[in-house]
């Protein structure tokens, strides 16, 4: 076997994760229609060759439904992570750059958001926005920018006081250019890693509030919906309804985690030799 170092292995692993996730997303989007098909001649079938994840009480193919549900989750995670990362970036920057009052306001807001249990705030916002895909997206984005914003704020505050940025100013470089040139290599890895690591949060939260009935609508093939429906059938022994979608959800979350770790390792020059 060819020997590879840890860095190469991580890059390989991250690439494989990315391909798998992309495959699930695209496949799910293509079988979305099939996931809604009901056929009462095949209802409540346990896993078999034809239906590897079995079928449910309306005769829907659970494999197709799970893939479609994961696809919805991943797309939702993508939009949510992007939204909250953008909010985090601007809030963090504002806190660090716009002076003491802005800093106090943003930091206070962060403390406030972090002080309230996520799930409660999430349900409130999602409900107020009319539930559904966008309700969930707005709910999760509004509650998940805080830790990344705090990270960016701290980093920018520290960088602003750094000798090398002051020296750049004395060497006659403009403020904006100096900030771009000197801060980007510090902020970008943090930012991208934070963004990728937001995915699993977003996906799990989507599943949980949908499970509780405040997220996506019940006819959609979403993991939360599948899991909450399956609860009713667990007592009658239809274990496959919960187990396979649940395991795959955890799998997707793990893949994102690996991807995030890989990205961090690739982008951080201080860890370049690992």
């Amino acid at each position: 076997m060819i020997h590879r170092n840890r860095r190469e292995m991580m890059v390989l692993l991250a690439a494989v994760s990315l391909i798998l996730l992309a495959a699930v997303t695209i496949a799910g989007a293509n079988v979305y229609g099939d996931a809604m098909v009901t056929d009462f001649s095949r209802k409540n079938l346990p896993p078999c060759l034809e239906y590897p994840f079995g079928t449910d009480f309306m005769g829907r193919d659970m494999f197709v439904r799970t893939i479609a549900g994961l696809s919805v989750s991943i797309r939702l995670g993508l939009v949510t992570a992007a939204f909250s990362a953008v909010i985090a970036f601007f809030m963090g920057m504002a806190a660090a750059v716009l002076g003491k009052t802005a800093d106090g306001l943003v930091s206070g807001l962060i403390d406030l958001m972090m002080g309230i249990p996520h799930i409660l705030l999430l349900i409130l916002i999602s409900f107020a926005c009319g539930k559904g895909f966008w309700g969930v997206v707005i709910g999760i984005s509004m509650t998940h920018w805080t830790s990344l914003a705090r990270l960016i704020r701290g980093e920018v505050l520290q960088l602003r006081e750094s000798n090398y940025m002051k020296i750049a100013a004395r060497l006659g470089h403009g403020k904006l250019r100096t900030a771009m040139v000197h801060m980007t290599p510090h902020l970008l890895p943090q930012f991208i890693t934070g963004l990728v690591l937001l995915f699993p949060h977003a996906i799990l939260h989507e599943a949980s509030i949908t499970f509780l009935g405040f997220g996506l609508s019940p006819e959609e093939p979403a993991i939360g919906v599948i899991l909450s429906e399956s609860m009713k059938y667990l007592v009658t022994g239809e274990w496959w309804l919960a187990v396979f979608p649940g395991v795959l959800l955890v799998g997707v979350v793990l893949l994102f985690h690996i991807l995030g770790q890989g990205v961090l390792l690739i982008l951080d020059p201080e860890r370049a030799h690992e």
Partner: protein, 202 residues
């Protein structure tokens, strides 16, 4: 040219004691002035004020009778810091340090003993002495008229010290750059400077 500090009084914003009290200093272009004082007497602070990093609470810094700001974006008074590892961005390659200076000629880079392949490394991959050479080169751009050297060789071995100082002396003499040397080492000051000043206790 003449760099003048008049009645500089300074205290950091964090409410600590007063660092400088009515400090005065004049350096001519052809001069190399040593500055010595025990720890905590404000040598670095004085350099920061002379280099425009800090504004004094009272007093003024004048270059040929005019404040530093009027000389455009590139400050003609450049400071070399004591800690090179804090003076370069750890996430940018060393060649960006040289690019940041104002037209650094190849002569200076080679004269300081900077090797070509160092330029493609990150700061973490060089030693303190190697980093300091980059910082010195960066401060020697075309527009530099005065150089403030704040303990720039304190962490180096004697051979490297003499190598760097030999080059620096030759360079400042040639270009008529005024030099302020801060050091605890009287031997160094005697060797390098035309005269030595002592900061008084505030």
């Amino acid at each position: 040219m003449k760099l003048e500090a008049r009645n500089i009084t300074f205290q950091y914003d964090n409410g600590n004691r007063q660092i400088l009290n009515r400090a005065n200093l004049t350096i001519e272009s052809h001069e190399r002035v040593g500055l010595s004082a025990p720890s905590g007497f404000g040598k670095t602070t004085f350099c920061k004020i002379l280099g425009g990093y800090e504004k004094p609470d009272q007093g003024e810094v004048l270059l040929d009778g005019k404040p530093l700001d009027v000389y455009g974006p590139y400050c003609p008074v450049q400071m070399i810091w004591q800690h090179p590892e804090l003076s370069v961005n750890p996430r940018r390659k060393m060649k960006t340090v040289l690019a940041e200076g104002n037209q650094i000629p190849e002569r200076i880079i080679r004269g300081l003993g900077i090797e070509k392949d160092w330029e493609n490394r990150y700061p973490g991959e060089l030693s303190g002495g190697e980093l300091q050479r980059f910082c010195i080169a960066r401060a020697l751009g075309e527009g530099t008229r005065f150089l403030l050297a704040d303990e720039i060789t304190a962490m180096l071995d004697l051979i490297t010290q003499s190598q760097i100082w030999n080059f620096l002396l030759q360079e400042v003499k040639e270009r008529e750059i005024g030099l302020l040397v801060v050091s605890h080492s009287d031997g160094l000051l005697k060797k390098v400077c035309t005269r030595t000043e002592y900061l008084q206790k505030p």
